[in-house]
Symmetry: C2
Subunit: 311 residues, 2 copies
């Protein structure tokens, strides 16, 4: 059993509990709350909050209740994006994880609104994270505000949403595309931006010791370099993850309609590209270990090992 598998068996139920609790208060209308919960509590792997918590742990820091709550916000964003992606005007998917998608079950208008409420709710989760704090577990308002800002960037018009815009163009307009465009303009914002947020949020949450009071410029620069390294780690991991997803789906794709990296450059070259991003991500962990005495890379190596041909 990998260290990550042990970690997941401990934290997956706690993430699920946090999501369930917050979703129970997500709407004043219980029928609508149920729709929102259906969209989120669907057996997802919780990769994004898990990555945040793994980064916190990698730096030897404790996962407090308010850190757990912040970590789950990105899952609301991920869930809303799936609900909207499944809509008839987008990918028109009737199934999600073998069950009816939200619009298939509840109707199209309801699915649009469920997505809207989940996205709005994500920002409530971050901004109210201290509501479940205990003792000295409060996260500073400065930090939560910065995390709010980062989430809005990685999820919005320069992040996840624009990745979906490009992906739709890719599907519908039969653009003449190349691999570089697909990696930089689709995969990076659509899939990797949120994972980048998850990782760098973990780095920030692992360094809550009055960061805003640090007067030593050198320490401060080191901190920022660490946060940036984790952002890049999350993005590299995210792109490799997306390429793997494409490789897994390759045989099911309708070649007429979908242009993914393996379709563009072939399976072997796509695998090589994926391994390039994994190598970059591993290099980041090596650098982090060299500069941070408290950093244990095992969990994050296990994340990278989730991706590959043998799985």
């Amino acid at each position: 059993m990998t260290k990550l598998a042990v970690f997941q068996s401990e934290w997956a139920p706690k993430i699920e509990q946090q999501l369930t609790q917050d979703l129970g208060e997500a709407s004043s209308d219980s029928a609508f709350s149920d729709m929102m919960a259906y969209a989120v509590l669907n057996g997802g792997k919780r990769l994004r909050p898990m990555l945040t918590l793994a980064v916190v742990t990698s730096f030897g820091q404790k996962i407090t209740p308010s850190i757990l709550k912040v970590a789950t916000a990105v899952e609301w964003v991920h869930a809303y994006s799936l609900v909207h992606d499944d809509l008839p005007a987008m990918d028109n998917d009737l199934l999600r994880r073998g069950k009816p998608s939200v619009h298939a079950l509840y109707g199209e208008a309801e699915a649009i609104l469920v997505g809207d409420a989940l996205l709005t709710g994500a920002f409530h989760v971050v901004s109210s994270a201290n509501s479940c704090s205990i003792k000295n577990d409060r996260i500073s308002a400065e930090e939560l505000l910065l995390l709010t800002q980062m989430l809005s960037v990685q999820a919005g018009g320069s992040g996840m949403v624009v990745g979906q815009v490009k992906d739709m163009q890719n599907h519908s307009q039969k653009l003449k595309i190349d691999a570089e465009w697909l990696l930089n303009d689709v995969y990076t914002p659509k899939t990797a931006a949120l994972l980048g947020f998850s990782a760098t949020a973990g780095s920030r949450l692992a360094h809550l010791d009055s960061e805003h009071d640090i007067s030593d410029d050198e320490i401060m620069r080191g901190r920022l370099a660490t946060h940036l390294a984790l952002l890049t780690f999350g993005i590299d991991f995210g792109i490799a993850f997306q390429i793997q997803d494409d490789l897994d789906d390759f045989n099911q794709d309708d070649i007429e309609n979908i242009t993914s990296l393996p379709h563009l450059i072939g399976i072997q070259a796509a695998r090589a590209k994926r391994d390039e991003y994994l190598t970059n991500a591993r290099k980041i962990l090596t650098d982090l270990a060299a500069h941070n005495l408290n950093f244990d890379r095992t969990l994050l190596d296990d994340f990278l090992n989730l991706i590959g041909d043998e799985i």
Copy 2:
């Protein structure tokens, strides 16, 4: 010319400028930025940010650059809600203010994504409001975090979104509804919640003098009572505004499909109901003037006077 008309002629261009500037940075993709800007820069009255700024001014406080920026966030939320409401699965409107709606012009998928990006962007506007601060104009992180939280509540699954859910049910399911349900379950969340946010945000922004450091319980209770009074004022104004909108639209409605308050209880009774909310709102201003030496009610009275039979 009313005091509000003078105020609007000064601040409408500044609101427009702030929106234009932030929308210019709303996406890394310029074509998508343009779609987002099209959805917002459409000649709207900017009632919601104007209300926030009017409240700040009513308390004798200066409107600083960062206060202006915070005030405009709600307009992003309002604009996204119109884009999504116009979608084929919702109200299926091809026109908005006499021009093609976003989905009519750019396509349905794009309209969903424009709305998503505007909603996400609203939280970026609030959380980055200090980016345009000058000198001592910074708003505390505590305050901005609280405003983020309030916006997510009034816009989300217990606010605006659930109002739209109920309104869709009202349209499609031909429920047996009564006036109380319509006022409380549709008008209040769908229209009044955001206006409630605008007004109470103005109250908070008018009292930025280290509120979080106030140790005097009595002053603190007075502050909270003031913020709550403005929330109620905004909600009363919003409901009256929605009833007026229904009265104005009464003759254009297809009685088969739409059930609005005048359809339910008749024009005279709807006018009486509207005036009830206006009277309540005026009472709040009377109370505020009695308890706050610096409070000048003229601008907010002008807001209430926008609504009525003579206009």
